[in-house]
């Protein structure tokens, strides 16, 4: 009897101990003097980000007395880590998320809504630039994340290659392809264009932009997936044809699973053009390219525009900042959001990352090239649309981006990709989408 009692007590003690270790909500910032911040990778590497952010964390501590436990999380892990934190209730106080994922994370209900009081605590709604704030407004109610870094897409071109060939920066898609064909010389390992063909999120981004140029959009008016409409199919084909039909992209690009790889090809003089966001600048510089060597223009659209098509070159991309709903230090977390989005820090961060400021009154960094800075601002003002808000945006990114990756793989291994191949791939992507609730 006694043996059984002892064994039972031991088992119970171990179970209770283990289970209590699993539960217990505890954020690491459980006291009012500490918060935990998961920052996304914005620079060339996590180490770069730590070097940029740590002085800011120290400044925040000096101002408020609240210390920040900073963790820089690579994008590949950030979504899963955020998901785990949302499910378990154990996570940081403040977090970054891609603004394309904002709608999906919003649907989880795990994040603090920025109602009037919360907005006041971070400096008011009016301080934010409209376009990135509109992109964060994903559910019609109070947003659960706010813009932190604003990004748009542009076409980067190598000035010297263009000048040597007597070419002007393209203003239409056809001009871009023609220029790329003139600059392609496979024997010299030089191509007119480079792209990260195996990168899922870039595949989705470009399908959205080029789809809109062709009059398509991925969701219908009621929010249901509609990936196979003619505009979407034409947009994806336009992108994949750069490799499959136009022959201006090295087939090896189909294996590039990170944007940095194509940026390195561009910086190394192996490609004359590429699509990139503002922050691509840091990668190009890290790869030894001087900013005077490249120029940017809006991503061109086909001329004339297809029926229903729009003259756009980007969507409002970027990174948002959010506060976990079950933070133990709500006030400290809101103070930190206010700090990261105040004009002074925004100026510092934009300069460091090449992103566009998300608050009014902060000029975009010129990096000694006012014309380029103006071009970025012009793209944001005239050629940028918000991403269609939808709670299944994460699945959309995975499935449509995955379809684009598969199509590039097909283009690399089999050569041709016809319209029906594109439609079938997008249909398969649509079939994988979860039902909306």
């Amino acid at each position: 009897m006694r043996t059984r009692r002892i064994v039972s007590a031991a088992v119970a003690a171990l179970l209770v101990g283990a289970l209590s270790a699993c539960g217990g909500g505890g954020q690491s910032g459980g006291d009012s003097r500490t918060i935990t911040y998961w920052a996304s990778v914005q620079g060339a590497s996590p180490d770069d980000d730590r070097k940029i952010l740590e002085p800011l964390m120290q400044e925040f501590e000096q101002q408020t007395g609240i210390s920040v436990d900073l963790e820089v999380v690579p994008w590949t892990d950030l979504t899963n880590n955020t998901l785990a934190a949302a499910v378990s209730g154990i996570g940081p106080d403040v977090i970054n998320m891609g603004n394309t994922n904002a709608a999906t994370f919003d649907a989880t209900g795990a994040f603090l809504p920025f109602d009037d009081a919360a907005f006041t605590a971070v400096g008011g709604k009016d301080k934010f630039v409209e376009a990135p704030l509109a992109a964060a407004d994903v559910n019609g109610g109070p947003p659960t994340s706010l813009p932190l870094y604003s990004q748009v897409y542009a076409l980067y071109y190598n000035k010297k290659m263009f000048a040597d060939a007597g070419l002007q920066p393209p203003t239409t898609w056809q001009e871009m392809v023609a220029a790329a064909q003139r600059l392609t010389d496979p024997a010299a390992d030089r191509y007119g264009f480079t792209l990260p063909g195996a990168t899922v999120n870039v595949g989705m981004h470009l399908s959205y932009i080029l789809g809109a140029q062709n009059g398509g959009s991925p969701f219908d008016a009621s929010g249901r997936p509609d990936f196979t409409n003619d505009g979407m199919v034409a947009g994806v084909k336009q992108y994949v044809d750069l490799m499959a039909a136009d022959g201006v992209v090295s087939r090896g690009d189909a294996q590039f699973s990170e944007g940095q790889l194509s940026a390195a090809r561009f910086a190394g003089g192996h490609a004359a053009m590429m699509f990139g966001q503002n922050a691509t600048r840091t990668t190009l510089v890290a790869n030894g390219m001087d900013p005077s060597q490249w120029g940017i223009v809006p991503i061109p659209a086909p001329a004339p525009l297809p029926a229903g098509g729009r003259q756009i070159g980007s969507f409002a991309a970027g990174t948002n900042i959010a506060v976990f709903g079950n933070t133990d230090n709500r006030d400290g977390a809101l103070k930190f959001v206010e700090f990261m989005t105040n004009p002074k820090q925004q100026a510092t961060l934009s300069e460091a990352y090449g992103s566009l400021p998300v608050v009014k009154g902060v000029p975009a960094p010129t990096f000694g090239d006012p014309a380029a800075a103006q071009a970025w601002q012009q793209i944001l003002a005239d050629r940028t649309i918000p991403l269609q808000p939808n709670p299944n945006i994460q699945a959309y990114q995975t499935n449509v981006g995955g379809a684009v990756v598969e199509l590039f793989a097909r283009a690399a291994t089999q050569g041709q990709v016809n319209t029906e191949d594109v439609r079938a791939a997008l249909e398969q992507a649509q079939d994988k989408m979860p039902a909306s609730s």
């Binding site: 031991a10 171990l14 999906t104 994988k432 989408m433």
Partner: protein
Amino acid sequence: MSTPSKTAVAGGPQPAPPSPPPDGPGRQRARTIPWSKITPYLLITPALVMELLIHIVPMLAGIGMSFLELTQFYIARWTQAPFAGTRNYRAAFDLSGSLGLSVLQSFLITVLFTVLVVGISWLIGMSASVVLQRSFRGRGVLRTLFLVPYALPAYAGIITWSFLLQRDNGLVNQVLTSLRIVDEPTFWLLGTNAFISTTIVTIWQMFPFAFLMTMAGMQSIPEELYQAAALDGASVWQQLRHVTLGMLRPINSVLLLLLTLWTFREFNTPYVLFGSNPPESVNLLSVHIYDSSFLNWNFGFGAAMSVLMLLFLLVVAGVWMLLSNRGRRRAA
């Protein structure tokens, strides 16, 4: 401790009866702590608790989840997720729907992958054991060499393979093109080649275990059996078939079961080689489950597929036990 030993030799001098406890005649013998009885329970308790926490509880949670409509709308408060009944299972079996078809396709790819990996790994492991059974110069070095893939951390090994298999600067293409075996570099990580690459990398990881197990088994085969077989006129192949394989039958049976279970749920290799979005040809069931759960956030459906995979592997293990018991009875 004065606890009577259970190891007293029968027929030998009987152990003295335990002396009364030193703290007084009032204490009952039954109240002493019989450590010999408690010890096994104490030793097994941590493993039992960990098994419960790491395997059983998540497994039960997964089974429960498979009956829920668990998406991003309920993930932070999953106890409130709507009950889906058997809808997730019906979707997995509905071959007229795209979800069901993709599950079937994934299942067939996994079966083909498992058959190839297990079959070839066993063949290579077994062959290596046979060759290295006899003593010769350099045998120790070769044995160590064959165990290297098993000793390497899986991730390090797979990442190295991903470098080797790159099209433009991978060593595999460098060798093939410089030897003029192929005219232009091959995409080893795209399209159907991705399946071949994944299979090769997994075999590279699995065969050392087959080698280790069969090599250990062969150590216990008496040399006299081979001598007797040779005297009876058995050829080398007959010795291999009737002596080596015959004696290794119990080991091979367990080995093949383990390899099958491990390979069928292989996730590391495709994930490290291709990231979260592997090519269609490598759409193994484990990858499909990950895709449904963590990329499409359809956790209920992902859990249902996990349960189906568990049931399938239980059936495989059950059939193995049945066949194995029958084989033992026949041998007896």
